[in-house]
Symmetry: D2
Amino acid sequence: MIWFNCDYSEGAHPRILERLAQTNFEQTAGYGNDPYCLQAAERIKQLCQAPQAQVHFLCGGTQTNLTVLAACSRPYQSIISPVSGHINVHEAGAIEATGHRIEALPHENGKITAAQIARVCKAHWEDDNPEFAPQPRTVYISFPTEYGTLYSLQELQDIRRVCDENHLFLFIDGARLGYGLTAPGNNVTLADIAALADVFYIGGTKIGALLGEAVVIVNPKLQKDFRYFMKQKGGILAKGRLLGIQFLTLFEDGLYLQLAQHANDMAALIKTVCKQAGFSFLYDSPTNQQFPILPNEMIAELEETYAFAHMGRVDNRHRAIRICTSWATRKEDVEQLTADLQKLAEKYHVAHRVSLIER
Amino acid sequence: MIWFNCDYSEGAHPRILERLAQTNFEQTAGYGNDPYCLQAAERIKQLCQAPQAQVHFLCGGTQTNLTVLAACSRPYQSIISPVSGHINVHEAGAIEATGHRIEALPHENGKITAAQIARVCKAHWEDDNPEFAPQPRTVYISFPTEYGTLYSLQELQDIRRVCDENHLFLFIDGARLGYGLTAPGNNVTLADIAALADVFYIGGTKIGALLGEAVVIVNPKLQKDFRYFMKQKGGILAKGRLLGIQFLTLFEDGLYLQLAQHANDMAALIKTVCKQAGFSFLYDSPTNQQFPILPNEMIAELEETYAFAHMGRVDNRHRAIRICTSWATRKEDVEQLTADLQKLAEKYHVAHRVSLIER
Amino acid sequence: MIWFNCDYSEGAHPRILERLAQTNFEQTAGYGNDPYCLQAAERIKQLCQAPQAQVHFLCGGTQTNLTVLAACSRPYQSIISPVSGHINVHEAGAIEATGHRIEALPHENGKITAAQIARVCKAHWEDDNPEFAPQPRTVYISFPTEYGTLYSLQELQDIRRVCDENHLFLFIDGARLGYGLTAPGNNVTLADIAALADVFYIGGTKIGALLGEAVVIVNPKLQKDFRYFMKQKGGILAKGRLLGIQFLTLFEDGLYLQLAQHANDMAALIKTVCKQAGFSFLYDSPTNQQFPILPNEMIAELEETYAFAHMGRVDNRHRAIRICTSWATRKEDVEQLTADLQKLAEKYHVAHRVSLIER
Amino acid sequence: MIWFNCDYSEGAHPRILERLAQTNFEQTAGYGNDPYCLQAAERIKQLCQAPQAQVHFLCGGTQTNLTVLAACSRPYQSIISPVSGHINVHEAGAIEATGHRIEALPHENGKITAAQIARVCKAHWEDDNPEFAPQPRTVYISFPTEYGTLYSLQELQDIRRVCDENHLFLFIDGARLGYGLTAPGNNVTLADIAALADVFYIGGTKIGALLGEAVVIVNPKLQKDFRYFMKQKGGILAKGRLLGIQFLTLFEDGLYLQLAQHANDMAALIKTVCKQAGFSFLYDSPTNQQFPILPNEMIAELEETYAFAHMGRVDNRHRAIRICTSWATRKEDVEQLTADLQKLAEKYHVAHRVSLIER
C-alpha cells in the first residue's frame, strides 16, 4: 500500500533526526528554557518580522488550540469558527471542555467571511439581554483551511478590520501553514499572518517534525502568563529542547518552506491529472490536500493500492476522496498514482463535469 | 558545569534515536494505532502480568495525571494525595482545572498511610451532609515519591485494602517508576504495581526517552472511553509511533530497568560518600534523588561546578539540596562529585548529625 | 402598559403567599430536608406514578438544566438539542461552561425527530475515530418547546426508542410543563412524561410560583449523588422549604394545572381572534405563547398599549411577535387586547395569508 | 424541640412577606431589571458610601461565592482562604469545579493575617518557575468568620495593603455581615468594608430574608460583564424582584441591622450565662454563633430539649457545641435555655477552665 491518507504517516525530516543525535548528550535546562528553544523562537520572530512577539512550543494541534483559546477567553466568551473548523469537528469537544462555546458559522470552501463575523457580533450586542448568550471574543480560522483552501490577503484584512471593530482576537490555526504559504496563487506572507493575527501557530507535525507546533503570540495581552496556561494544560515538555531543536532545524535555513513546497508540487501533479481526466473537485485546493470526485468503481479499484480518506457521497455514482501529500511524499509514488488515475479514468468512461455538491 | 539538577537534562538513550532513524520512512497509521504502539502495549501488559489491561501512551507527567484523574472522577469527586504529591504542588492547578479538589494529607517522607486515607473517608461519610464536601474517589500516590522514597509492598497492600473498603480508585504516579523498581531494599515488582493499582503509569521521560509515559489501565471501569479523554485533553499524538517506538525499545529487552539501575548505582555512590562524611539527609531515599543536608558555605562552593536543586533551610548553618542522577549520568562526573564532596567536607569541618528537619 | 411579554411578570399565586405566611415561624431543617419538601416530593411522585423516582427542588431553569446535564454526562459526552433549545440559545453558555458540547440539530417548530437523533448517533459510531468527536449521551427537548409547540405521544415514544437503542438519556425541560399538559389536542400525560424521560422537570417559576423547578429523576443511574451536583452548583437553598411549600401548594389539589389551563384559555382567545382576522402564525402553538405575524404598522400601534416580544422580520411588511399569557393574566386585559386586534386588523386592511417563513 | 442549630430555621421577617403580598400583582421586568432591584441597589450603594459600586442579587452563599470567584480569576489563578473558610469546607468543591485551586492557610479563630498572605505571594513569585503553581489572585475571608469572630479594622487594612502590594483582589464573604457590623467591640463599618474590599456581599438568607445575597462590586475591573457570570451560573432569577423587594425592605429603614442586633443580644445572654457558669469557649465570638465547651453528660441532657450543632471533642469529658441565634430567635426560648444552662452547670459540678483546644 502507498499512503496518501494524511500528512503525518512518516517520521521526521532526516536533518531533524541527525540534529537530535548530535545534541543528544548536551545537558540543557528543561521546560523550554534551553538554548535551542530560545534560538528557534528568535529565528521565528525574525521571519515573522515581529520582534515583540512571544514564541512557545507545544506538542500538537488540539493541545495548541485548547491552550491558546483558554488564554483568549473569559469563561462567558465564545469562539467564532467555521462549522468545518478543526476545533468544531475533530477535537473531542476540547474547547467546550475548557468551558467555551464555539459559535459555528456556515462555511464556503472551509472559509468564513468578515461579513458573517460582523453579523454575529451585531446580533449579540443588539440583543436586549446580551448576557443571556456567550459573548463573541475570538475568531478562529485555519490557513490553509481544513479543505486545503486559502484566504486571500484582502479577506484576512477584512476579517482583521471586523475584529478590531468588535473587540475580537484573531487566532489563525496554522497546522499546515507552510503548505499555504508556498501554494500557487497565495498572496499572504508569514509576516502578513503575524501582522494580522493576535496569535497563530506554525505547524511542525505535518511539515517535517516528529511533533510540535510553534505558537506565535503577537498581542501583548495574550502574552502575559501564557506559560501558566501551557503548564496547566500539560503542555510544557520536560525535555523542551526536543521541540526547539526541530523548529531551529526547520527554520534556520528555509527547510520548512522547501518541504511544504515539495508537498504542494506533488499535489499539483495529482490535481492536474484529475483535471485533465475531467474530474471535478469537492473543494478547489491549491495546497497539499486534493479532493477529487471520482466514480465509485474507480475508488474501489484505487483502494487496492492506495490509502486515502473518504469525503462522502456526491451523487449515486460518485464519491469524493481526499488525497494528501506531505514533505515525505516520494515522487515515484505520485507518478504511479497519476498513471493509475489516467488509466482508470479511461477504463470507467467517467461522466465528466460532476456537479460540485458538498457532502 | 556538571548538571545533577534533574533527570531530564539530556536527550534519549542512543538506541531510541537509532530506532527512530531506522523506522523513519515507514508509513504507519496515526494516533497510536501503529504497530509499534501495539507491540509496546503488548510487551508492557506481558511484563505487568496483566493481559486484560489497556496501555496508552501520553507525552508527559502533568498531561498524564490530569487525563487519568479526569477519567477517574465525576465532577463532585476529589483526589486524596500527599501534600507533597506532584499534582498538589507542581502542576499549576491542572487537576483543579479539570474541576476536582485535591484532598491533601500530611505526608511522612513523601508518603501517606492507609490509616490516613481511611480517616478521610470515615469523616466524609459520617458527616450529616456528606454532599456538602467533595466525595473522596481516588487515591494518588507516587512510586517512588517526589522525595525518592518508596512504599513497601505491605504499605501498598494496606492502601489497596482501604481503597477496596471505601470504593476508591488507586492511581500510582510512576514518572520515576524504574528508579523505584530497581532500588536497593525495594520489595515491590512491576506485577505488584499492576495487581494493586487501578491505573498507573510508567515514566519514560525521566528514564531514557525523549518524552512519553505509558499509562496502564488495569480496572475495566477506567478503560472504557479513555481515548476520548486523551483526545479531549490534547494527548493523542498524530505521529503516535514516536511514543510506541520508544517504549518498545525500552521494554523489549530490559533496557528500561538497566538504565534505572545505573542511575540508582550512581546515586548510591553519592549517598555513601555523604554518609561517610557524616552528613544527614532530608529524606532517606534509596533511588536516584538524594537530599543531603550540607553547610551553607559548602553548598556555595559546590555550585561553582555543579548544578543541583535547593530544598530549603534546615538551620542557620545548613541547607538541604537535591542531587539527581539519571540513566545518562556519567560515572566520571559522579567520581568527580564524590571526590569534591569528600574534600569539601573536610574543609568545612562540618558539624555532623544535623537533625532531620523538613523544610 | 399591559404586559404580555412573558409568563413571569407577576409574583406568585396568592395561596402560595398565604402558605408562606402561615408557616413562617415554624422551625424546620434546612437544605430541602424539611417536611414540606418531603411532602411535595411524595405528592409529585404519586402524580407521576413513579414511586421509585427522586424529586429535588431547584431555583430556576438555567440552574436546573446545567445541574441535570452535568449529572448526565461524562466530560467527553455531548447533549443533542434542537438549535432552538433554551440551553443552546439563552443560557450564556452554561452547558459549555460545565464542559459539554451541545450538538444542535435543525428544528421544525422547535422540535427534533427520532430519526435526526438516530442519524447523529450512527454518524458518530461509524466514524473511524469516534473518540475525535464528543460522544452523544443525552437528548434535551422541551415540552412545550420554546415556540409553544408540543411533541405527540408517538413522537416522544419514537425518541425514547432511539434513546434506548443508542444508550442515550432523555431529559425533558418542563419549564412550562403545565401549559403543555393542559393544551388542546395534547395527548401526553404527566405519567407519560415520567415513563418516557430519564429525568425531567416541572416548572414552577412560570406557572404560579415565586421561583422553583421540581426535578424528577426517574432513572436510578442519575439519582445517585445528585445532591452533590446540586450543592456544587449552588443549587441547595438554606431555606429549602421555600420551594417545598410552593410545590406542595401547587400540587396538593390540582392548582398547578388549573393555573396552566387558565393561561392556555387566555391564549386561545387571542389565537382565535388573530386567525379570524386572517393572520398567520410563525409557529402553530396550542399553549400560552402565540406567535402571530402582523403588519409592521399594526405592531407599532399595539406597542403603545401592550408589551410583547419581537420574533423578527417575516417579509418587507410583516413581522412576527410573541404574545405570552400566564396563570396571572387577567381576562379583562385579554378582552381589551382581542378587541384592539380586531379593530387594528380592519384599520390596516392587512394582506392575509402571509406565508409562514421562519425568522 | 427548640432550635438553636442554625440561623435559617424560620422563614422571613413578616414585613418582607407583607411587601411581597402588596406588590404581588404588579407587572415588572424580569431578571433583576425591575424597580425594586434598582431601588434596593441604590439604597445599598448609598449605605456603603460607594456610588460607583455595582450591586447584584443572588440566591445563596455558595452560588455567590462561585460566581464572584469565577469573575475574579483567570483559569490559572488561585484563591487564598483560611482552611476554615466556607468555600474550603462546605461547598462541595464548587470553587474547584470552576477550575480554581483554593490555597488554604492555617487559621487562628477562623482568621488569617496579612503576613500569611504576603508569605504565600513571596514564595510564589520567588520560585524559579512560578508558572508551575497556580498564581495567587484573590483573598477570600469572611466577616464574621465561620466561627463568629471578627477582623478588626486594622487587620482588614493590613490585608488590604498586602493585597495592593501583591496585585490581589480582596473578597469578603458577608453571609452573616449584619451580625458582624452590630457586634459588641466591632470597629468596622459597612462603609469600611466597601472601601477595603474589591467585592463583598451582604447576606440576606441568614438575616431576615427568605433567600438572597447582595453582591457589592466596588472594583470596576470586576464589574464588567458580571451579569454574564451570573447568567452562566444559573444565578439570574426570572422574577428577580423577589430579591429586590426583600433587600429594599431590609435596608430602606434599618431593619437589617435591627434584626442582626437582636440575634447578637440573644447570643450575648447565652454567652454571659456560660461564662458565669465557668465554661470556656472554643472560639471567642461576639456574634450570633457561640461555641461553649460543655461536659458530655450536660450536652446529652440539653439535646433532649434543644437542637444545636456539634463541634467535636475537646477532651475526654468535654465537647464543644455551636449555639446559633438569629433575627427570629424568641426571647422566651433564650431565657429557657439560659435557665437550663445554669441549672445543668450546677448539676454536673463542671470542671471549669477547660483549656481552649481546637477541634
